[in-house]
């Protein structure tokens, strides 16, 4: 491969298909930010260490800085711009604003995508490192603060908005429980 090899790919982002020619080295993060103007996803480290670039790929959270754009071809990508439905914020977004789960806001897109992932993972019964009982057939336990802290720990926030983030995710979880 030469250093400037390019590929034509299709990316499905927030329900829209984008046809792109990308440098094979292009990360999904850069393809989102530079090629398709999804600037909500942020580059805090480009190294998989901060979570600012977190998006949902086929419903699962990934760090888009460690995902090559070519590897996301054909997948359904949801970014922070795609979380609101018809311009109406999701409960978790609304809770972030109201409970001040953000300060500078730079980690926020990643936190939100991660939170949506956490809610889905928990609803699907996936345990975390702090889940007390891992035996099968456990009854569904509502999320608690320790679970949220653990599951959200891939998303660094230097402003220290963590306590409000935990509150916001718990509130959104409650909202989803009620809706279920």
């Amino acid at each position: 491969m030469t250093n400037d090899a390019r590929s034509e790919i299709s990316l499905h982002i927030n329900g829209t298909t984008h046809r792109l020619t990308v440098d094979n080295r292009r990360t999904l993060l850069d393809a989102l930010r530079e090629d398709t103007r999804h600037i909500g996803s942020k580059k805090g480290c480009d190294f998989g260490q901060c979570g600012a670039c977190t998006v949902l790929v086929n419903g699962r959270r990934v760090v888009s800085c460690l995902t090559l754009a070519v590897a996301a071809e054909g997948a359904e990508v949801i970014t922070v711009e795609g979380l609101a439905v018809n311009d109406e914020l999701r409960p978790v977004q609304e809770a972030f604003v109201r409970l001040d789960g953000l300060q500078c806001g730079f980690c926020t897109s990643g936190q939100l995508c991660s939170a949506v992932g956490v809610l889905a993972e928990h609803a699907a019964g996936w345990p975390s490192a702090v889940t007390p009982d891992l035996s099968p057939d456990q009854p569904h336990r509502p999320l608690d603060a320790d679970e949220v802290r653990e599951r959200m720990s891939g998303n660094l926030c230097r402003c220290g908005a963590y306590p409000s983030i935990v509150r916001a995710v718990l509130e959104a979880a409650e909202c989803e429980e009620v809706n279920r």
Partner: protein
Amino acid sequence: MNTHPQVLDGTGAEISGLSAPAIGTPRTRVEGRDKVSGKARYAGDIPIERLAHGAVVTATIASGRITAIDPSATLASPGVIGVIDHRNAPRVDPEAGSPFFGPDGQLQLLQDDQIAHGGWPVALVVAETHEQARAGAERLRVSYVEQPHDIAFSPGHPAARPALSAFGPDANKGDLDAELAASAVVVDESYTTPAQHACAMEPHVATAWLEGAVLRGIDSNQAPYGIAAQLATLFGKPLSDVRVQVEQVGGGFGSKTGLGPQLILATMATMLFHRPVRVALTREEVFLATSARPRTDQRVRLGADRDGRLRAIGHEAAFEISGKSEFIENCVEIAKTLYAADAIRTRLNVVPLNILPVASVRAPGTAPGSFALESAMDELAERLDMDPLDLRRRNEPEVGPVSGLPFTSRNFQLCLSEGARQFGWAGRDHRPRRRREGHLLIGTGMAGTSFFTTAFPSSATITAEQDGTFTVAIAAIDIGTGARTALHAIAADALRVGWDRIRLRIGDSAIGPAWQAGGSLGTTSWGWAIVAAARDLLEQLESGPALPVSVTSDTTEEIMSRPHRERHSYSAVFAEVAVDPATGEVRVRRLVGRFAVGRVVNPLMVRSQLTGGMIMGLSIALQEEVVRDEVSGRQVNADFAGYHFAANADVPFIDADFVEDHEPDDPLGMKGPGEIGTVAVAAAIANAVWHATGKRHRELPIRLDRVIED
């Protein structure tokens, strides 16, 4: 931008149809909706036509000089537009620097072949895409001759010398030696703190371009006006030909108060290649090439009578500094004002080394300084067999202990009593290693502090528009503090109109002189300028002039004519920790902080800021530490896997709140909550770890290997 924040009641529920004063009302962030939907634009998000990208090449040696740079492979690399190094870079003014610390060698990028620290930028590769720039940078061959570097910090270093005195002289009150000799109990201990980084989540990024003679910049920073002024001096341009803008900033914590390498290099590149150029520092470059908080070594001597009355406070500190830039890490500041004592003596030295320049990181001076002083106070309480809270109650000064000046408002005791009550401090067994839960050792600790406050001259322009709205323009910036929302509230109240009639413009150096988002004094200084402009404008409007009418304020005279007094914020922090002696792990279970920070404009956001500050204090206590390799002289943990700060699972719910407080010499009664949250936390946690384990930690961070027991 959606500028209709929600108004909240005491429980956080939304209230509608409220027409109370905007100041004092909890309100969600003006830009909150934009931030949660990915619409808020940061410096690296703004599209520019014909943009080229710059990638930085940093020195791999810590001392020496460049002997050759071979750009041939880079120039042959696809998409590369050019390379800038010391041979072709535009010349800059060696006098450029800051008003406090003078000429700053860190601004002299690509001016010569000398290397004074590992990570110093030696070239910029400019290319069509950022991958191409990065690939080109990797191919640049730079040869060096290495000289021995010196990164070994110690207070007795032969090159040690007194720090600049711009922040006030050493304290020399009374006879320290005589008072120590007359004391019933003496503490004489040394405390060390490591270098630390601000680690704002947004790496430094700038885009520069020329529009005719005007140099335009979009830059992630904390001081659009100050940085435009520095940039103008550096490149020999009139300030009117330089304009620096930014909409949102992804945190700064001090690291973006000065002109950063990203904007200098982007400016050079646009001058040479006649294209708009963006330089986005990588996370590693933020660690290696911006700035850090210095290592400190502090000797604290305390002497007291049996009843806990302080006779002597000695605080002598040294901190490291680069050979390039001056700075004052004023660790000894609070020893001059926090407690009464017959003798107070402070000294502050610097040790120049081959290290990254040091500069502000949240609560410069007071964060490491309070760790030393407030740990020593705990040791004194231990030796007196006394409640550490009582020790702090017993030494309340009536006037500035060194200056003799009156305090404007001093609510330290209120912070102590409110914090203690909330925490449940009463009845604590003060002896160490008494509480266990299974294999865990439990302890509690406390610390207090003050934080210097003032206001800095700024200007604001307010225009009464024909449609009944007011345009309020000030070169302020919101780096996550909530300044935008707070200034909006201040303007609404000052103009005596509802929220919706204010249009606020910030983040643009062209608006006029204004203080930075720094020193915890951004909103305080900008708010004053808005109040002053509103006052004059309302006066002018009384005669019913034809609209629009504009008024520009300048608060220099008002601020400078204030009487000399001791002006400080105060805090008390209480911590509970659980220590696992088998693993050395310290978990913070509870943190309670009470703060006297003047009048609170927006309780929701001030609580957030104080909480975030306390979390940074927790990280400083337990995690943060720059590790340098003695052989290469470079920082080895220049990423988030190696440089740790608190993740969500490290942080308990935090109770941060304020007590009633008011600064009489400020038109809004404000002080500033930006940094004080960080200050007393490390000492409170260290004191709690002693209480749990019986072991004193005089060296930060309190790492596992320092705690673990056989």
